[in-house]
C-alpha cells in the first residue's frame, strides 16, 4: 500500500422543516413607513444564519421597497409577536412566511388607498424597489409618495399575520403520523486522503447537493452548507467531548479539537430547488440538513481509500491506525462473497 491513499464516498439524507410532530406557528407585524421605508416586528434575531437579511428581502419583495429600507425589531417577548425558537430549521420557513403574509396585509391597505386615489383596479398595482405603478398606465409614484398619499387619506398601512405549519403527533404504539409538512433531501460526496503511516485523514473535496425549496439568498444558503459540512467534518474526524466517571476531561479548546482553516476541503455547493407547494414563499430550509450526510460520506470515503470501515466516530488517527493494524486486505470482500455463495446455494435448495 502506498503511504497516502485516496478515496471517495457518498451519503444521502433527509430532514423535516420546522418543529417536529406538532403544529408550528409564528407571528409578525409589518408597517409601510414614512419615506417609503418599512418596519417589521417579529420575535427573532440573528443566531448567525442570516435570517434578518432573509426577512428584509422577503419584506422588501412583498412591500415594494428595498431590503436596506427595512428595519427589523429585535426578539423581545414583551414587544414583539411570538415567533418562538431559533432552531429546528424553521426560521426561513415559519418566520419568513409570516413576514411575507404580514407584508401582504400591509401592502393591501396601501394599494386600496392608491387604487382609489388613481381610480384604477387594485389588482393592476405593482410595487418594486421603491416604486409603485399601475400596469398599462403612465401612473407611477415613489413608495415615499405612496405612503404619504395613503396617510393623507387617513390610513396607516399596517399589517399582521400568523403562519401555521401543520404537523401531527406520532401514535404512541406504531409511531404513525405526519410530523412535518415539508421535507428536504441532500446528498454529499467526500474525497479524502489517508496517511497510512500517521492515520491522519484530510478531506480534500466535498460536493454538497441540497434541496432548499427556493433559495431566498443563494450565498447565504452556501454559507449554511459550508458551515454544516465543516461541523460534520469535525464530528467525523476530531471532535470528542469526554468524561471519565462523570468528570469532564476535555476542559477547553486545547483538549477539545475543532476544525481550523487548515482542515477545510474545497466545498462545492449545488442548490436544488423543489418549491414547497404549501407555503407562500415556497422556500424550505437548510440550517440543520447540511450537516447530516457529511460524516457518513467521509467514512465511506475512508473505506474506499484503505478498506477499513470506521463505525464509531470520530475517526481519529489512533482509530485509523488501529483498524489498519487489524486489517486483512480484502477480508470484507471474502466474507461477502462467502455470504453470497451461501445465499445462492440456499436458493438453489442445496
Amino acid at each position: 500500500m502506498n503511504r497516502k491513499m485516496r478515496g471517495r464516498g457518498m451519503a444521502s439524507s433527509w430532514y423535516g422543516i420546522a418543529r417536529t410532530a406538532t403544529i408550528d406557528r409564528a407571528g409578525a407585524w409589518a408597517e409601510l413607513d414614512d419615506g417609503g421605508t418599512a418596519k417589521i416586528v417579529t420575535g427573532v434575531t440573528e443566531i448567525g444564519e442570516g435570517i434578518l437579511t432573509v426577512l428584509a428581502q422577503v419584506a422588501a419583495e412583498e412591500l415594494g421597497v428595498r431590503p436596506e429600507d427595512v428595519t427589523i425589531g429585535d426578539n423581545d417577548t414583551s414587544r414583539s409577536p411570538e415567533a418562538a425558537h431559533a432552531g429546528a430549521t424553521r426560521q426561513t420557513y415559519m418566520i419568513g412566511n409570516s413576514v411575507a403574509l404580514a407584508s401582504r396585509d400591509a401592502r393591501a391597505k396601501l394599494f386600496a388607498e392608491i387604487a382609489d386615489h388613481w381610480d384604477v383596479p387594485v389588482d393592476s398595482l405593482r410595487a418594486f424597489n421603491g416604486e409603485l405603478w399601475a400596469q398599462d398606465t403612465n401612473l407611477r409614484m415613489s413608495m415615499d409618495e405612496a405612503v404619504k398619499t395613503c396617510k393623507g387619506r387617513g390610513v396607516v398601512p399596517v399589517g399582521s399575520a400568523s403562519f401555521t405549519a401543520h404537523g401531527t403527533g406520532l401514535d404512541p404504539v406504531d409511531g404513525s403520523g405526519s410530523p412535518w409538512q415539508a421535507y428536504v433531501f441532500g446528498t454529499q460526496i467526500a474525497e479524502v486522503e489517508v496517511d497510512t503511516w500517521t492515520g491522519e485523514v484530510q478531506v480534500l473535496g466535498i460536493w454538497a447537493a441540497h434541496d432548499v425549496g427556493r433559495a431566498i439568498n443563494p450565498r447565504g444558503v452556501e454559507g449554511q452548507i459550508e458551515g454544516g459540512v465543516v461541523q460534520g467534518l469535525g464530528q467525523a474526524l476530531m471532535e470528542d467531548y469526554q468524561t471519565e466517571k462523570g468528570y469532564t476531561t476535555t476542559h477547553g479548546f486545547a483538549k477539545y479539537i475543532l476544525p481550523t482553516s487548515l482542515d477545510i476541503p474545497q466545498i462545492n455547493c449545488v442548490i436544488v430547488e423543489d418549491p414547497d407547494p404549501l407555503s407562500p414563499l415556497q422556500a424550505k430550509g437548510i440550517g440543520e440538513p447540511a450537516l447530516v450526510p457529511t460524516a457518513p460520506a467521509i467514512m465511506n470515503a475512508i473505506y474506499d481509500a484503505i478498506g477499513v470501515r470506521i463505525k464509531s466516530l470520530p475517526a481519529t488517527p489512533e482509530k485509523i491506525l488501529d483498524a489498519l493494524r487489524n486489517h486483512v486486505p480484502g477480508r470484507e470482500q471474502i466474507a461477502q462473497s462467502a455470504r453470497q455463495d451461501r445465499a445462492e446455494a440456499h436458493r438453489r435448495g442445496l
Binding site: 491513499m5 485516496r6 478515496g7 471517495r8 433527509w14 430532514y15 417536529t20 410532530a21 434575531t45 443566531i47 448567525g48 434578518l52 428581502q57 422588501a60 419583495e61 436596506e68 426578539n75 423581545d76 415567533a83 418562538a84 425558537h85 432552531g87 404504539v173 409511531g175 404513525s176 405526519s178 433531501f185 486522503e193 480534500l204 473535496g205 447537493a209 443563494p218 450565498r219 452556501e222 454559507g223 454544516g228 461541523q231 460534520g232 469535525g234 464530528q235 467531548y241 468524561t243 462523570g246 469532564t248 486545547a254 475543532l258 481550523t260 482553516s261 487548515l262 466545498i267 449545488v270 414547497d276 450537516l291 457518513p296 467514512m299 465511506n300 470515503a301 473505506y303 474506499d304 463505525k311
Partner: protein, 629 residues
C-alpha cells in the same frame, strides 16, 4: 489593591489609565476602555477572538498581561477604519457573507489584515496557514478565504475596487445575493453581545459548581460569603419562589441543584457582587457538605436492574422511548437475500459556539423581571421562568441579544433563572459571563449514541426490512432528549421507502454532562448508521452506491417510516445533481480508491503538511479561477 499606571497608544490616541495589576490586555481593552470589539472566546490562547496588534504584531490579548503592553502601540478592530467606513478586508467580508454569528469575526479580520500586511501577495495556502490560530464555528471558513483573496487583489490593484460592491439585483429580491445587513456591525466589532453590555450599577455574578457528578447535598452555608464586603447577595435553590424546574420537554432541572447534584459542574449556588474578583472570592467562602452517591456513567448501565436512580420520577432511568412500527419485519427479513447486521457509535459533541453563555437581568420600573441573553427560545423561557418565579407571564420579559453561535446549545435555560433571582433579590442589574471551561461543563452536548442495525435486501437492491435500535446517553437532565429521540426515530432509516421496519430510540439518564439540542437533533446520529449500512450493502450487492439509493429512494407518493404519504420528494434530483457535480465514476464501493479516475480534480484542494505553506511560490488564483482553468 494597589493600582498600576498604564500608558499606551490605542488606535492612534494616547491613553493614560490606572488599572488593576491582574488585568490582561484583553480586560484592559474591554473593561477599562470599553473596546468590546475584541472578544473573549476561550481566555487560553486557543481561539483567536481576542486578536489585536501590539506594536504591529498580531497578538492574542488574552495571553498578554496589560502591564506588559505598557508603552506599546495597540491597534484593535475599532481602529482599523474611521467610524462609518470599512477597510477593503472588512468590505470583502461584507461582500462574500464571511460573517455569520460574527463572534469570531473581529479576530478573524485582524488575522486576515495581519496576513496581508505580512505578505500582500500571500497565496491561498499561506492565507489559510496565517488564519490557523483563529477558530470560526459558523462559516466553514470558505467565505472567509474568498473574502481575503478578494481583499488581497483589490489592495494590490489586480481587481478594481468595484469588486467589493454588492452583486446587482435583477427583477426580484428573492434569489438575490443581498449582502448581510448585519455584516458591517460585525466586521467592525460594533455589535454588542450580552457580555459586551454594561448597565449602570451592575453587579457581577459567579456560580459555584458541583465538584462531583452525583451527591446528596447535606447542607449549604452561605453566611460567610454573604457577610463579605462587596457581596450583594448569595442565592441557592432556597430562593426560588415558585415551581423550580425547567427543561424543553420535562421540567426536571432546578435553577440550582436542589437536594442533590447530578452532574459535575452543575450550578449549586451563585454570588452577585460589586465586581468579578469579589464574586469569585465569595464562592470560596460558601460551605457545601456533600454525601457522594454511586453514579451511572454509561447508558447501558443505567438500564441494569438496581442501577442508581438519578431522578425519583424515573425509577428506570428512562427519559423517553420512541417506537415506530410499519409492516411486518419477520416477513421482510424472510424475503431478504442478504441480511447485514452491525453496530455504530457516535460520540458526545460540544457546540463550541465562540460566544460563551452570557446575560444580564434586571427588574424594570414596572416590576417586570427582564432577562437579556443569547437565548434561542425566549418564548418558552418566558413561560418557564414565570412558573419558577411565580409571576404573571407579563411580568417576565426575555430579550434575545445577538447570538454568537447557538446550534441548539442555547435553547436550554441553564443560567437565566439564577440571573433573575439575583436581580429580584438586589433590585440591581446583574451580569453573568461564562468562562469557556464553565460553558464546556455546564451546557448540553450532542447525544452520544449506539445503534444496532439489521437490514435485509434482495439481490435487486430493494430493502425488504430494517430493524433499528438506538440507545442514547441523555446525561443528568432531560433537556431536549425526548424531541431528539423522536426526530432520530422519524428519520432513522433514511430517505428510503422501507415497507417493513421496527425502530426504537431510547434515551436514559446518567451522571454525565447533559445532552440536548444540537443541529440535526438526532438526525445525524441515526443517518450516520443508515448511510454506512447502505454503502456496506452496495458493496455486498456489487452495486454503485448511487444506484442502490435510487432503487430505494422516497418518491412522490411514497410512505415515510411514520406512514406519511409524500406529496413532494426531491432525492432523485439531488442524487443527479451531486453525481454530476462530483464527476462521480460509477462502481461498487469495493475499495476502489486506488483505481479511481475521478480523484484530484480542480474542485478539490491540495493535501498539505503543516508549516509547508508559508513561503511556497505564490498562487494568487482565486477559487473560481482555479475551477475554470
Amino acid at each position: 489593591m494597589p493600582k498600576i499606571d498604564l500608558t499606551m497608544d490605542v488606535n492612534g490616541r494616547k491613553v493614560v489609565k490606572q488599572s488593576e495589576p491582574h488585568k490582561r490586555l484583553l480586560d484592559f481593552l474591554r473593561e477599562d476602555l470599553n473596546l468590546t470589539g475584541t472578544k473573549e472566546g476561550c481566555g487560553a490562547g486557543e481561539c483567536g477572538t481576542c486578536s489585536v496588534f501590539v506594536d504591529g504584531k498580531l497578538v492574542k490579548s488574552c495571553l498578554m498581561p496589560a502591564a506588559k503592553a505598557d508603552g506599546a502601540k495597540i491597534e484593535t478592530i475599532e481602529g482599523l477604519a474611521r467610524p462609518g467606513s470599512l477597510t477593503p478586508v472588512q468590505q470583502a467580508f461584507h461582500k462574500t457573507g464571511a460573517s455569520q454569528c460574527g463572534y469570531c469575526i473581529p479576530g478573524m479580520v485582524m488575522a486576515a489584515t495581519s496576513a496581508l500586511r505580512e505578505n500582500p501577495d500571500a497565496g491561498i495556502e499561506e492565507i489559510k496557514e496565517r488564519l490557523g490560530g483563529n477558530i470560526c464555528r459558523c462559516t466553514g471558513y470558505t467565505k472567509i478565504f474568498e473574502a481575503v483573496e478578494i481583499a488581497r487583489d483589490v489592495i494590490a490593484g489586480r481587481l478594481p475596487e468595484t469588486a467589493l460592491d454588492e452583486d446587482a439585483t435583477g427583477e426580484s429580491f428573492i434569489g438575490a445575493n443581498v449582502r448581510r445587513l448585519d455584516a458591517p456591525s460585525k466586521v467592525s466589532g460594533r455589535l454588542k453581545y450580552a457580555a459586551d453590555m454594561k448597565m449602570v450599577d451592575m453587579l457581577q455574578m459567579q456560580v459555584l459548581r458541583a465538584p462531583m457528578p452525583h451527591a446528596r447535598i447535606v447542607s449549604i452555608d452561605t453566611s460567610e460569603a454573604e457577610a463579605m464586603e462587596g457581596v450583594a447577595c448569595v442565592i441557592t435553590s432556597a430562593d426560588v419562589p415558585g415551581t423550580d424546574g425547567f427543561g424543553v420537554f420535562v421540567h426536571d432541572q432546578p435553577v440550582m441543584a436542589r437536594g442533590k447534584v447530578r452532574h459535575f459542574g452543575e450550578a449549586v449556588a451563585a454570588v452577585a457582587a460589586e465586581d468579578l474578583i469579589t464574586a469569585r472570592r465569595a464562592l470560596a467562602k460558601i460551605k457545601v457538605e456533600y454525601e457522594e452517591l454511586p453514579g451511572v456513567y454509561a447508558p447501558e448501565d443505567a438500564l441494569v436492574d438496581g442501577a442508581p436512580v438519578i431522578h425519583d420520577y424515573a425509577q428506570d432511568n428512562v427519559i423517553k422511548h420512541i417506537p415506530i412500527r410499519k409492516g411486518d419485519i419477520a416477513k421482510g427479513f424472510a424475503e431478504a437475500d442478504l441480511i447485514l447486521e452491525d453496530e455504530f457509535r457516535t460520540q458526545q459533541v460540544e457546540h463550541a459556539y465562540l460566544e460563551p453563555e452570557a446575560g444580564i437581568a434586571y427588574v424594570d420600573h414596572d416590576d417586570v423581571v427582564t432577562v437579556l441573553s443569547p437565548s434561542q427560545n425566549i418564548t418558552h423561557h418566558r413561560h418557564m421562568l414565570a412558573e419558577i418565579l411565580a409571576l404573571p407571564i407579563n411580568k417576565v420579559r426575555f430579550i434575545m441579544s445577538p447570538v454568537g453561535g447557538g446550534f441548539g446549545g442555547k435553547e436550554d435555560m441553564i443560567y437565566q433563572g439564577m440571573l433573575a433571582l439575583a436581580a429580584m433579590k438586589t433590585h440591581r442589574p446583574v451580569q453573568l459571563n461564562f468562562t469557556r471551561e464553565e460553558s464546556l461543563v455546564a451546557s448540553a452536548k450532542r447525544h452520544p449514541s449506539r445503534v444496532r442495525y439489521k437490514m435485509g435486501l434482495k439481490w435487486s437492491g430493494e430493502i425488504t426490512a430494517i430493524e433499528f435500535d438506538m440507545l442514547s446517553d441523555g446525561g443528568a437532565y432531560g433537556m431536549s432528549s425526548e424531541g431528539v429521540m423522536r426526530k432520530a426515530a422519524i428519520l432513522s432509516c433514511g430517505p428510503y421507502e422501507v415497507h417493513n421496519l421496527k425502530v426504537d430510540t431510547k434515551v436514559v439518564y446518567t451522571n454525565n454532562t447533559p445532552s440536548g439540542a444540537f443541529r440535526t437533533f438526532g438526525g445525524m446520529q441515526a443517518q450516520f448508521a443508515t448511510e454506512s449500512m447502505m454503502d456496506m450493502a452496495a458493496e455486498a450487492l456489487d452495486m454503485d452506491p448511487f444506484e442502490l439509493r435510487r432503487i430505494n429512494m422516497m418518491r412522490i407518493g411514497s410512505r415515510t417510516h411514520t406512514q406519511q404519504e409524500l406529496t413532494t420528494a426531491s432525492l432523485d434530483r439531488v442524487l443527479d445533481a451531486a453525481e454530476e457535480a462530483s464527476r462521480w465514476e460509477a462502481g461498487a464501493p469495493k475499495v476502489r480508491g486506488p483505481r479511481r479516475n475521478d480523484l484530484g480534480g480542480p474542485d478539490t484542494r491540495k493535501p498539505c503538511t503543516l508549516g509547508a505553506r508559508i513561503g511556497e511560490p505564490t498562487d494568487t488564483q482565486t477559487k473560481d479561477e482555479r475551477v475554470a482553468s
